[in-house]
């Protein structure tokens, strides 16, 4: 986990620095808390960096090299992309169709190959949720092109 810790510590220092620099243009009272929290984050980043580098020799003997699984990354990225596409589509296509597609594609991307069960679940859940939230909870979903 050494590389992960190095990335995390560096990111903490960079984020802290960005917040402090951005706070410079604010009034002192407004900038107090952001500066305090960012300084705290930077200090922790430095501590993590130092401890990670100090452990270098000790760990390098036993550390396992994590294999980078491309398939895993692609699948996770695809799920996030589907969710993002849903966010973009809901205003144009309404609620039911994007929700049906969201369930169906996520289940498919997760390697579930029983298409009949997937189709039935996607259809049942999207229509069921639409009816429950519209008629019981009185939620107004975007209308979109269809319904």
């Amino acid at each position: 986990m050494k590389i992960n810790d190095l990335i995390l510590s560096t990111a903490s220092i960079i984020i802290g620095a960005i917040v402090i620099i951005s706070s410079l243009s604010m009034k002192a009272s407004v900038a107090f808390f952001p500066k305090l929290s960012a300084s705290f984050l930077m200090i922790l980043g430095v501590i993590l960096l130092a401890t990670t580098l100090l452990k270098k020799l000790e760990l390098s003997k036993n550390e396992k090299v994590n294999k980078f699984d491309v398939q895993k990354v692609i699948r996770v990225a695809l799920v996030i992309a589907i969710l993002f596409a849903y966010y973009l589509a809901i205003n144009f296509l309404g609620y039911t169709i994007p929700t049906f597609l969201l369930i169906f594609t996520i289940v498919y991307v997760l390697d579930y190959r029983n298409l009949k069960a997937n189709l039935m679940t996607s259809l049942g859940v999207s229509i069921g949720l639409y009816l429950i939230f519209t008629y019981i909870f009185q939620v107004h979903f975007p209308k979109g092109l269809f319904f």
């Binding site: 903490s12 917040v19 604010m26 407004v30 984050l41 699948r75 996770v76 997760l110 579930y112 909870f137």
Partner: protein, 512 residues
């Protein structure tokens, strides 16, 4: 007595009782499914409570909370996989007992232990929270600032694993709490020109992202791994007999007391309570050496402790407005969407809501036994639902619930961003609980500090001139420094032993 009657009056209507029943069912099933947690169940159901009466909403979520922790024991016993983190210790004796062909007995012990622990902690919550809230009525901004700092000081403990990473998570939570308008001047901070961020980051979409979306991404990650499903043993009779009940009463009492006390302390959690209770029982019990081989006390201790945490963890939230863990932060989100304020004001302004919640927790715990025992008949079918198919359903619940909160698609973006953030945290082994607690307490600390500073004309003297503030600040310092010092001592010891090892190795080489 009048408060009990008030609570009963608020709860005793068919609709609310039906919501409690539904909550127990939902919580139990979600808790039993490995990979789906109680927190995720609460997060997904918070938007559903939007249109309910506040009493019914909190009763529904309380029922999910208590029964999901109990539900976690089912997969721990039958599959050897804890359904929730709180059931990890139950696996140690529950699974071996199931392998011996006593799955029904193990589940029966878990059921009754959970009910005992839950009832005990509800009782403590009912009497302790109002007392604490009464004291907190005297609190002003300086005391509330100190209380928020006390809550924040505990984030070093919440993480589990690396303390530095837990603190980094907390610091990021503080930065996220800053987003939005400054509490006094209204100056927009880090809103990136977005009107949607002026009020800050919506807590509930963020929490649903951190619990719901992360669960889907975790399933996505392991979906190409070979199926390691284990055969589910037959459950059989779950009644353990009166003799066993009498034998387990001392264990239940010890477990419930430990769970409730640990639950009250902000920053602790069910996993600490269960392992502490298990460890203590191992020392107390005459069958201690047999622990790990399927001892009844090895199941009863952690199960009474984890349900003991439920009521305890709500004490600081309800009495002081301070969420001590992720679950109470979810409750805070649910209370906030009803436009209510937590803390002593809730006790004085809306006593029927608080007392209703207390009574509903009693009812939920009592319902857990018959409902749990009934569902256990169908547990094989429930546990065989493919998690990949469930992930699609969870995704639909996440997006629908989040949109339903404000009918604003921007909340969906928050959901996705926090889901991704939670996944990054998971990959980097950074705990999310400190982030959540800091997000809530950060703004509380800042606004109260600013108010206290205005009252004291810019002087920080209120930190040591006001006795309650001083006491809480000192307690915060102790709470923060104790794990830090403990960590330093441990690290020093580690380096010392490494150095000693290296010296002895060198000596051996010299001898050679």
């Amino acid at each position: 007595m009048s408060s009990i009657l008030m609570g009963l009056q608020a709860i005793m209507n068919p609709q609310t009782l039906l919501f409690i029943l539904a909550g127990v069912l939902i919580g139990f099933i979600i808790g039993a499914l490995p990979g789906l947690t109680g927190n995720m169940a609460i997060a997904l159901m918070v938007p559903v409570t939007f249109t309910m009466e506040p009493v019914a909403a909190l009763a529904f979520l309380g029922a999910i909370y208590t029964s999901s922790i109990f539900g976690g024991s089912v997969s721990a016993i039958l599959l050897g996989i804890p359904g929730t983190v709180s059931s990890m210790a139950t696996t140690l004796d529950g699974y071996p007992m199931a392998l011996k062909g006593k799955a029904g007995q193990a589940l029966g012990i878990a059921t009754l232990s959970s009910v005992f622990g839950g009832l005990f902690s509800s009782f403590v919550l009912m009497f302790f929270a109002p007392m604490l809230a009464e004291q907190a009525l005297r609190f002003g901004p300086s005391e509330y600032f100190a209380v928020a700092v006390l809550g924040l000081s505990c984030i070093a403990n919440i993480g589990g694993g690396s303390m530095t990473k837990g603190l980094i998570s907390g610091a990021l939570g503080l930065l996220l709490a800053i987003i939005g308008m400054d509490p006094q001047t209204g100056f927009p901070r880090f809103t990136f020109g977005s009107v949607n961020l002026l009020e800050g980051i919506e807590l509930v979409p963020a929490l649903i992202g951190l619990f719901g979306i992360v669960a889907i991404l975790k399933t996505a990650e392991k979906s190409n791994e070979p199926d390691r499903s284990v055969p589910i043993p037959d459950v059989g009779s779950v009644w353990i007999g009166w003799k066993m009940c009498l034998r387990l009463i001392p264990t239940w009492l010890r477990g419930s007391v430990i769970g409730t006390i640990i639950g009250i302390i902000p920053g602790t959690g069910t996993n600490i309570a269960t392992f502490l209770s298990y460890d203590m029982e191992k020392k107390f019990s005459k069958n201690g050496p047999k622990f790990g081989e399927g001892e009844p006390e090895g199941i009863a201790a952690p199960e009474s402790a984890n349900n003991g945490v439920t009521g305890g963890s709500l004490v600081p939230l309800l009495a002081l407005g301070v969420p001590g863990n992720a679950t109470s932060a979810l409750f805070l989100g649910a209370i906030m969407i009803h436009g209510l304020r937590v803390g002593p004001v809730l006790f004085s302004d809306q006593p029927e809501i608080v007392n209703g919640l207390f009574i509903s927790l009693f009812i939920s715990n009592l319902l857990m036994a018959p409902i749990g025992l009934f569902i256990l008949r169908y547990i094989k079918s429930i546990l065989s639902i493919p998690d990949k198919l469930l992930s699609g359903v969870v995704a639909a619940f996440c997006v629908t619930g989040v949109y339903a909160l404000n009918s604003n698609t921007f909340d969906l973006l928050i959901l996705i961003v926090f889901g991704f953030l939670g996944y990054v945290f998971y990959k980097f082994k950074v705990p999310t609980a400190p982030l959540i607690v800091a997000m809530v307490l950060g703004s509380m600390a800042e606004s109260n500090l600013r108010q206290a500073l205005v009252a004291s004309r810019g002087s920080y003297s209120f930190l040591y001139t006001q006795p309650i503030t001083l006491f809480i600040v000192l307690a915060s310092l102790a709470s923060f420094l104790f794990p830090v010092i403990n960590n330093i001592i441990k690290t020093k010891a580690m380096f010392k032993s490494a150095a000693a090892e290296a010296t002895s190795e060198m000596a051996v080489e010299d001898d050679d």
